[in-house]
């Protein structure tokens, strides 16, 4: 599966990558901000887009809205430690399939990949 992770933090992207199963089944692409993410989506056509919530210019939910607005479709997952009701509801309203709580670990990522497979 092609996966795009969008997070301004290099450490967060590294953590996600480190906990991905090393089974050759997945291809991971990275983006740090909206323009880069839109470009990667057009080029790579990922099936799954994992977005951080807390980013400098647009939050993850706003980015997904922009992607959908540009006609780019994928399964969206929000990655955040801010799992309060208003944040989760705003993600679900846009069509996110899941909210994964930071910090990630191997168990959370395995459960996510099993769900979207």
């Amino acid at each position: 599966m092609k996966i795009l992770i969008v997070d301004d933090s290099m450490t967060s992207r590294m953590l996600f990558k480190a906990y991905m199963p090393k089974d050759g089944q997945h291809e991971l692409f990275e983006a740090t901000a909206l323009p880069d993410a839109l470009e990667k989506m057009r080029e790579m056509r990922p099936e799954l887009v994992v977005l951080d919530y807390n980013m400098p210019e647009y939050n993850g939910v706003e980015m997904a809205q922009a992607m959908l607005g540009a006609g780019l479709k994928a399964k969206f997952v929000l990655l955040t430690a801010n799992t309060q009701r208003t944040v989760v509801d705003s993600a679900l309203a846009v069509g996110f399939i899941q909210v994964v709580e930071k910090p990630v670990n191997a168990v959370k990522i395995a459960a996510l990949l099993a769900q979207v497979a």
């Binding site: 933090s9 290099m10 450490t11 967060s12 590294m14 953590l15 990558k17 480190a18 919530y53 807390n54 400098p56 955040t80 430690a81 801010n82 799992t83 309060q84 009701r85 208003t86 944040v87 930071k102 910090p103």
Partner: protein, 207 residues
């Protein structure tokens, strides 16, 4: 202590995850949408901390502090400009203040600020410790108001003769349709900072 770009990014990510968790807990307590972000983290020697905090040294600051111990020891101090934080607390706990006299009002404000500060500091510290594989024990919170140099001097009083450093997290808090800029400072001995950074390097090496 010099940090490279990845180390600064890692420290900022730990702080952001910690304070986002705090925002979740605060939102449950206050029944309001809360956002907390950490756009910048700095590490400075104690003698540069007042200047590095970029707050008016004469302005009144409200501070909640808690000592912590474990593999790393020190004091975490959360600071907001006094008037901003009072306005925020009034907006958040306003209904419980109805009918209170001036003294009671001040008491309720202090209690509320200490509770909010306690949640932010404890959640933040717990996540940082967990992600670094450390154990942290927190003291009960204390509250004080004063100007920045007084607050820092009081909290550093027990550290005479020790070389101290401060990890400064510039925080942005959004709640009750208000936005306020604050600072969370981890005041630690150089040795304790080194222990924390050794853990950070271990985490980064494992990725």
């Amino acid at each position: 202590m010099e940090l490279d770009e990845l180390e600064r990014d890692a420290l900022r990510e730990l702080a952001n995850v910690g304070l986002s968790r705090a925002a979740t807990q605060l939102s449950e307590l206050l029944n309001d949408h809360i956002e907390m972000t950490v756009p910048l983290v700095q590490v400075v020697p104690y003698d540069q901390v007042t200047q590095a905090l970029q707050l008016d040294p004469h302005a009144m600051v409200a501070a909640v502090w808690q000592s912590f111990s474990g593999q790393s020891e020190g004091t975490s101090i959360l600071m907001f400009p006094s008037e901003d934080s009072k306005r925020l607390v009034r907006a958040l706990v306003g209904p419980s203040m109805l009918g209170a006299g001036e003294d009671d009002l001040r008491g309720i404000e202090h209690e509320a600020m200490m509770e909010i500060g306690n949640i932010i500091i404890t959640s933040g510290m717990a996540v940082i410790a967990d992600m670094l594989g450390q154990e942290v024990r927190m003291s009960l919170p204390g509250y004080m108001e004063g100007n920045l140099p007084d607050i820092m001097e009081q909290r550093n009083r027990d550290n005479a003769g020790r070389e101290m450093q401060a990890i400064i997290m510039f925080t942005h808090l959004k709640a009750a349709q208000r936005e306020i800029e604050g600072r969370m400072v981890m005041l630690m001995s150089v040795d304790s900072v080194q222990v924390l950074f050794d853990r950070l390097h271990k985490l980064l090496r494992s990725l």
